[in-house]
């Protein structure tokens, strides 16, 4: 090195000595390179002149310079670099991406420099996290943004997620944010509860495409995502008007860069198992012991009495083996579980020249569920192309197609107790999986309550396949009309087709047995066309900076559903591919078209580059609104003050960035399901006149005054940066008030109507958010971290239903046997607080029962409840609030380490203070012992042997069906969300990059929750039934090994 320097100096001296004038012009050659390889089209400019050139395809350039010149190298997305020429003939540079580059974030209908933001916008760049396989958008966002809560409705592979930004604003309307994918808006509404399905209620016999539907954004390959912006406050979301109240998630896919083509191949294999297997149920011997006690208590002969087994009416063997001879029996949970293997392969390509850039991918995912007979396969393709047609005209076309086949086990949520997981929790361990002749051990001869539903048979015998085709094309033409003024017009075509194929085997499923095989095909089609045109203007005149956007948008969506069914098949051979060999069920069709027409705009005005003002808004006209309220207006205003530009702050020499933000605005929620404003007839059937005749009766009353929900949000924030961007801190406080809640108001059924939609009541959400980032160590070992903390307090301010300040609800699908409400809306409380009886141990003597308020059915050893109103009776009036699902605060903490070729990422997430209503525990502690029960119930009350026992004695079922506080638990948890360890091979000859890694998702969870999974949310997107656990498939932990190759 030193020798080289000396040689160079010698050389230079020699040159000098050869009398070449120092100022003489000559040619310098070189290469512009980066960590990503050579940069074609990079600018090489002589500083202070207009002379310059661009690099060729291999990043090489030639330029004539004077030795006194300085060359500036620039390339979009990289730091500029200036190099004095001096006497060099060759100048090779390596451009870096770095912190001093002003970060650009995507906002509605445009982009902004992060420092110019006035609203609350969080940005997640996938760079760094796209090297590990992400299965969904929800997974990318989990724990990374303050105030964004993500929950999975089920551990089913491919099932949807529910995202709440700053709490839920709506009771029955949709609370999911609006997703905008490359400009195309998507509402993620699984429609199962609350906001009634846009396609109407599912048919009870045929089921529908709503039975465990695949996630709404499954068609989007996470590997294609370049950045995700989360717009949280009204200033940021008002431009989305009547769809902005729940926040907006803008997803931008990767675009090509002007450089040589690059091919990326990624492959991984993952292994999924249950996060928590430590929930113990009784084994066969224990169950039989308790069952005998129960039978004795009921005055019946004990079932397990040692007599020879007998043959029941349908071949099921009625077992009488003495408990002590039964042993462990069947562990049904193990019987339905498997290690799910996931394979993920993806091929990405990107590149471009001056006129055309492109990026695209082909992805293949094969994911096995952790429960037997479930899984999915998905193919995603994408091609994003941008072409410069004229110097002033750019065309962009983003095209994506996805094909997904999933085989879903029927989960508990929509279908009562029919899913294999729910069955596994209930089926008694005495029964074997297979009977003596090797057939699945089932018995459907009795009423539902007494059938033997073998969970393995349920998993094998119910086919619930979904095939989803999704197509989205966004085409955009952008013309630069004048300097600073451009006009862009976009058109989007979105088409989604979902076909559900369901079949209930006639021999091994309960439904199939009672119908001779039941087959259903449900097809759902959604087609949407969107056109948007908007003009953008950017100008800086002296101390004034203006950027503005104004435009209009028109969208039409047609939704169609077809349900067909048949039953009574001669055999199961053709399952549901031969409807003609069974008896048809009356088919159902449904079709509706909705329109949305909008005008929107935003003005950003900057004074002195210190004071920033933003005004934005939208006018929406929607066919979903009532005839009398067709148009809605949503304005917002924001102000930000860049304190770091003020002398008095600069003198402090503490902050290198400091900005105060304040915003206020109005946004809406228009997720009224279709057809709520007009009265409609319901089509029914009545078998008269020799066949099944069609009938019609008033079905809904309609409401022509129905309008959007209005959310007024105030946001106050501060952004600070320290030590040259090494540490950043953002604080936000917000207060949201949502009124005109779209409530599905129950009306007295004696009116002949059950429900109507109305705008009533008010909800508030108030919270505090902290986000920080730090580069802790920046040497050979690099360590950077980011974290967030958020609180959100949600309150039902008013029900708006007259004097009633409480509305009792009931979790759907819970059998009528359960007494009480379970869940209620109470003014002043979190919407959907748990509501039930207060448990007070068990009755220990008849005298105690006689002397106190008791249920009329109370017996010694049965459950005792508190007589809260002191009227000497246990009635509905003794129900009270027994739990609150809303967490006190949430935490997210991400750490990235790198050292030489190694990188390590660790991400933790915590949720604190929310309750879980474990209704499943109630089912699994039932002393009637029709089902298997939890091992904890062995601590049952016995006046002699266990007078302190807290569980009801076997057979003493009084109160066992009362919704009660003993099923409510603290749901706080900390989860090691993600750990990923990788190694990047460097200086490889043939290939540009090679990375191997191991990635672990959900490896450890710290919680006191006694159920399977503290993240449980059986009712998915519902804002009324939150954090309830009813036999929902828990989430899984996954270990993935993978390889990425760059060519």
């Amino acid at each position: 090195m030193r020798l080289a320097n000396i040689l160079a100096w010698v050389c230079a001296l020699t040159l000098l000595c050869t009398t070449t004038p120092l100022w003489s012009q000559r040619t310098v050659a070189g290469n512009v390179n980066s960590d990503d390889g050579a940069l074609p089209g990079a600018f090489v400019l002589v500083v202070g002149t207009t002379r310059g050139t661009t690099t060729d395809f291999d990043g090489n350039y030639l330029i004539d310079v004077l030795p006194t010149d300085t060359l500036q190298f620039s390339y979009i997305g990289y730091n500029n670099l200036e190099v004095p020429v001096l006497n060099q003939d060759r100048i090779d540079v390596n451009l870096t991406t770095g912190n001093d580059l002003e970060e650009v974030v995507v906002v509605g209908y445009g982009t902004m420099r992060k420092s110019d933001l006035t609203g609350s916008v969080a940005s997640v760049k996938t760079e760094g996290i796209d090297e590990i396989p992400q299965v969904s958008v929800g997974q990318i966002l989990t724990g990374r943004v303050a105030g964004v809560n993500i929950s999975q409705s089920s551990g089913q592979v491919g099932s949807g997620v529910s995202i709440r930004i700053r709490g839920g604003n709506s009771l029955n309307g949709n609370n999911e944010p609006l997703y905008v994918v490359d400009g195309y808006p998507i509402i993620n509404d699984d429609g199962a509860f609350g906001a009634a399905d846009v396609l109407g209620q599912p048919n009870t016999v045929l089921g529908s495409s709503q039975d465990n539907p695949p996630g709404a954004l499954n068609w989007l390959n996470p590997a294609d995502i370049a950045s995700i912006e989360v717009l949280k406050d009204a200033s940021a979301t008002a431009i989305y008007g009547s769809r902005g109240a729940n926040g907006v998630i803008i997803i931008t896919t990767k675009t090509g860069k002007k450089r040589k083509g690059q091919l990326t191949f990624s492959t991984s294999a993952g292994f999924s198992t249950l996060t928590n297997r430590n929930v113990d149920y009784l084994n066969a011997s224990q169950y039989a012991t308790l069952r005998n006690l129960r039978d004795e208590a009921n005055g019946e002969e004990p079932l397990f009495n040692g007599r020879p087994d007998e043959l029941g009416p349908n071949g099921r063997i009625i077992r009488h083996t003495l408990p002590e001879n039964l042993g462990e029996g069947t562990d049904w949970i193990d019987a339905v579980l498997q290690t799910g293997i996931t394979q993920n392969h993806s091929l990405g390509f990107t590149g471009g020249s001056d006129d055309v850039t492109y990026a695209g991918s082909v992805g293949y995912l094969d994911q096995e569920g952790a429960i037997i007979n479930s899984g999915l396969q998905r193919i995603n393709t994408r091609l994003n192309v941008t072409g410069k047609l004229k110097s002033w005209l750019t065309l962009t076309n983003n095209f994506t197609f996805s094909l997904e086949d999933s085989d879903n086990v029927v989960d508990s949520r929509n279908t009562g107790k029919n899913g294999p997981w729910a069955r596994a929790l209930m089926t008694i361990p005495v029964e074997p999986v297979f009977n003596e002749n090797g057939e699945l051990n089932v018995d459907y001869s009795g009423p539902l309550e007494f059938q033997l539903n073998n969970p393995v048979a349920t998993a094998q015998g119910i086919k619930n396949k979904f095939r989803t085709n999704t197509f989205l094309d966004n085409i955009s033409l952008k013309a630069t009309v004048l300097e600073g003024l451009s006009v862009e017009t976009r058109a989007s075509v979105f088409s989604k087709r979902l076909l559900r194929d369901a079949y209930y085997n006639s021999q091994i499923t309960s439904t199939g047995f009672s119908t001779g095989g039941l087959a259903a095909k449900n097809s759902t089609q959604v087609q949407s066309y969107l056109t948007e045109t908007f003009a953008s203007y950017n100008k800086k005149i002296g101390i004034h900076g203006v950027s503005a956007v104004v435009g209009y948008s028109y969208q039409t969506t047609t939704s169609e559903r077809i349900s067909l069914g048949a039953f009574g098949f001669p055999n199961d051979d053709l399952s549901n591919e031969s409807f003609q060999s069974g008896t048809s069920i009356p088919s159902e069709t449904f079709k509706v078209r909705d329109l949305l027409s909008s005008y929107f705009g935003r003005i950003n005005y900057t004074l002195l580059d210190k004071y920033l003002f933003t005004f934005s808004g939208r006018a929406d006209g929607s066919s979903k609104f009532g005839r009398n309220n067709r148009w809605a207006y949503f304005p917002s205003a924001a102000f930000a003050w860049k304190l770091d530009q003020e002398d008095f702050v600069q003198q402090l020499a503490v902050f290198d960035k400091l900005k105060l933000r304040a915003s206020y605005g109005v946004t809406g929620n228009q997720s009224i399901s279709s057809l709520q404003t007009i009265p409609l007839l319901t089509t029914v059937n009545y078998p008269i006149g020799g066949g099944v005749a069609v009938g019609a009766r008033p079905g809904s009353i309609g409401n022509p005054d129905l309008r959007w929900e209005t959310t007024n949000q105030f946001n106050l924030g501060i952004d600070a940066g320290f030590a040259a961007g090494r540490y950043t801190l953002s604080l936000d406080y917000y207060n949201k008030r949502t009124n005109d809640l779209l409530q599905q108001v129950p009306v007295p059924i004696n009116s002949g109507f059950g429900l109507k939609f109305d705008n009533l009541g008010e909800i508030s959400n108030e919270g505090f958010e902290v986000e920080f980032s730090a580069i802790v160590v920046n040497k050979a070992l690099k360590w950077d971290m980011s974290g967030n903390f958020a609180t959100n307090e949600t309150r039902l301010i008013s029900l708006g239903q007259g004097e009633a300040n409480i509305l009792r609800l009931r979790p759907p699908g819970i059998t009528a046997a359960y007494d009480g409400s379970g869940v209620a809306l109470v003014e002043g409380e979190t919407p959907g607080v748990f509501y039930g009886y207060r448990r007070q141990g068990v009755w220990t003597s008849q005298e105690e029962i006689d002397a106190n308020a008791s249920l009329s059915t109370a017996t010694v050893g049965s459950q005792r409840f508190r007589d809260l109103n002191g009227d000497g009776q246990i009635t509905a009036a003794d129900e009270t609030i027994i739990g609150d699902p809303n967490p006190d605060f949430t935490l997210g903490w991400s750490n990235n380490f790198s050292y030489r070729g190694f990188d390590l990422a660790i991400q933790l997430q915590g949720v604190f203070g929310g309750d879980i209503f474990d209704i499943q525990r109630g089912i699994s502690e039932n002393p009637d012992l029709i089902n298997n029960v939890l091992a904890t119930t062995l601590d049952y009350f016995d006046p002699v042997a266990n007078p302190g026992g807290q569980y009801a004695a076997p057979g003493q079922i009084s109160g066992a069906y009362n919704f009660q506080d003993s099923w409510v638990e603290d749901g706080s948890f900390v989860r090691l969300r993600n750990v990923s360890l990788g190694y990047n091979f460097r200086d490889l000859k043939v290939i540009q990059g090679l990375r191997i890694y191991v990635n672990m998702v959900n490896m450890f969870t710290w919680t006191n929750y006694t159920g399977f999974d503290p993240e449980v949310n059986s009712f998915g997107q519902s804002n009324l039934y939150r954090s309830i656990d009813v036999a929902t498939l828990p989430t899984f932990k996954t270990v993935t090994f993978g390889l990425n190759v760059n060519l």
Partner: protein
């Protein structure tokens, strides 16, 4: 160049604006009809009439399950296997745990609302008819008939219930207070009278009511109200001039291959189509009998009380039909229901058995009861009851008993003749025997049992309704 840019810009704006502004923001529904644009054809009328039956027919509202679970078990006829439903026989039902009463309440009101939808569109329906008006008369009569059937059930079970005579269109109309019992009964009588005057003598279609069905109901309503002379006169008219007769043998009344027979005055139609069929066979026949879908046997969920079986004489022809077997079930010793059997059923809710709501034997016994109340046990009264007894293979009652003895005899005969058909609770209440009968059956008694509780949710929702006393 500059020109083309501007032209392009202009074209874009124009295109967008045209699209946006031409938008008519009316939601388009393709697959559901609007009630305001209905009754454009006779087909619409027939469809709307069918809509009245669906709520009370479909599972598991009223006639497919709810009435049977509740009304048979609270008295001394039936019992239930499953724990929770088993509470009804112990008279344990509260406003919150109010499954079957709620179901009955709701399905009756849904049916009433559908009837009101027809009745309030009289003008449109008449416009579809010729000058004679037979089509419209019959349709309106059928709607009035169904409305009365629903209100009649509800007023007997809950007392002073909300009276619904039009489809609610405003929020205020959704929530109305109770009317008095007298007002409800007056409407029930008016509706049945209207139906009797407007329905044809022979039903327009098998399974629909005729004017005779309405007259038979008038006899029953008057009997319930204690207007015995009126009850006598309507029953007399139906017996003398109506098309009905007792079907022989007794088994033929319920034979699934002999539906819509001459004894049926009004029934709910079921077919062997999944969800359009009856569930009664599945619920009530024992689980090794072969009387249900695929011959697999029922669930045995509903059990006939053994003491009911023991009340029948061996010679009583009704015994073999009323129970699914003359021997107790081999493993559990229960007797099961036998009136609803269909081995050719296609699914749980796919049995053919129509549910006979009202049959001619009931009219004969009403006649006997009302005659006795008016003039004591006249020979005519004996003739009426003995007609029923004779069909059952029993000897006729000897004349000469007292009025009270005759009252008891009629009530007892109704018990055996109409067993498990959900009449006895109404009979016991009407005759003031509910308390004595429950106590005799070893059940608890409280005066509140004379009415059922209104569901707590209904009370919570309504600002107008108050609970029945004692609940």
């Amino acid at each position: 160049m500059n020109y083309s840019i501007k032209a392009f810009f202009g074209a874009l704006l124009f295109l967008g604006l045209t699209v946006s502004c031409s938008a008519d923001l009316e939601e388009e529904v393709f697959s559901q009809a609007s009630p305001t644009a209905y009754f454009n054809s006779r087909g619409d009328v027939r469809t709307a009439l069918n809509g009245m039956y669906d709520p009370i027919q479909q599972c598991c509202g009223s006639y497919s399950q709810g009435r049977s679970f509740l009304l048979n078990t609270v008295i001394d006829e039936g019992t239930m296997l499953a724990g929770n439903w088993g509470n009804y026989e112990k008279l344990i039902y509260t406003a919150t745990s109010n499954g079957e009463p709620n179901n009955i309440w709701a399905s009756n009101y849904l049916s009433i609302n559908a009837a009101n939808f027809v009745l309030e569109n009289e003008d449109k329906i008449r416009a579809l008819d010729g000058p004679a008006g037979t089509f419209a008369n019959s349709a309106l009569g059928e709607a009035a008939f169904l409305r009365a059937v629903g209100h009649f059930d509800n007023v007997r079970m809950w007392g002073a219930v909300p009276l619904r005579t039009s489809v609610a269109k405003t929020t205020a109309e959704l929530d109305i207070p109770r009317s008095t019992e007298a007002e409800v009964y007056a409407q029930v009588l008016a509706d049945f009278t209207f139906a009797a005057a407007n329905l044809p003598e022979a039903p327009t279609e098998t399974g629909r009511p005729s004017s005779w069905s309405a007259k038979a109901y008038l006899a029953k309503v008057h009997l319930t109200l204690g207007d015995f002379p009126a009850a006598v006169s309507f029953a007399q008219d139906v017996i003398d001039n109506g098309p009905y007769e007792l079907v022989t043998p007794f088994a033929a009344v319920f034979d699934v291959t002999n539906e819509n027979n001459a004894e049926v005055i009004f029934d709910i139609q079921y077919a062997r189509v999944n969800l359009e069929g009856s569930r009664m066979a599945q619920l009530s026949t024992g689980n090794n009998t072969a009387f249900t879908a695929f011959g697999r046997g029922g669930w045995g969920l509903q059990i006939a009380e053994t003491q009911l079986f023991e009340k029948y004489l061996e010679v009583d022809d009704r015994r073999a039909t009323t129970f699914s077997s003359l021997l107790p079930h081999p493993t559990n010793g229960f007797y099961y229901y036998g009136k609803w059997r269909d081995p050719q059923g296609v699914s749980i809710d796919g049995h053919e058995n129509n549910f006979i709501v009202y049959r001619f034997a009931d009219v004969l016994l009403i006649h006997a009861e009302a005659l006795n109340e008016v003039n004591g046990p006249t020979p005519q009264a004996y003739a009426a009851i003995n007609q029923v007894r004779t069909r059952a293979g029993l000897a006729g009652l000897e004349a000469g008993g007292s009025k009270e003895q005759f009252q008891d005899a009629v009530l007892y005969e109704r018990h055996l003749e109409l067993a498990l058909e959900q009449h006895r609770w109404f009979d016991l209440k009407r005759t003031g025997q509910l308390k004595a009968s429950l106590i005799a059956a070893g059940k608890p008694w409280d005066d509140r049992y004379l009415l059922f509780p209104i569901g707590q949710q209904e009370l919570d929702i309504s600002s107008q309704l108050v609970q029945n006393p004692g609940y």
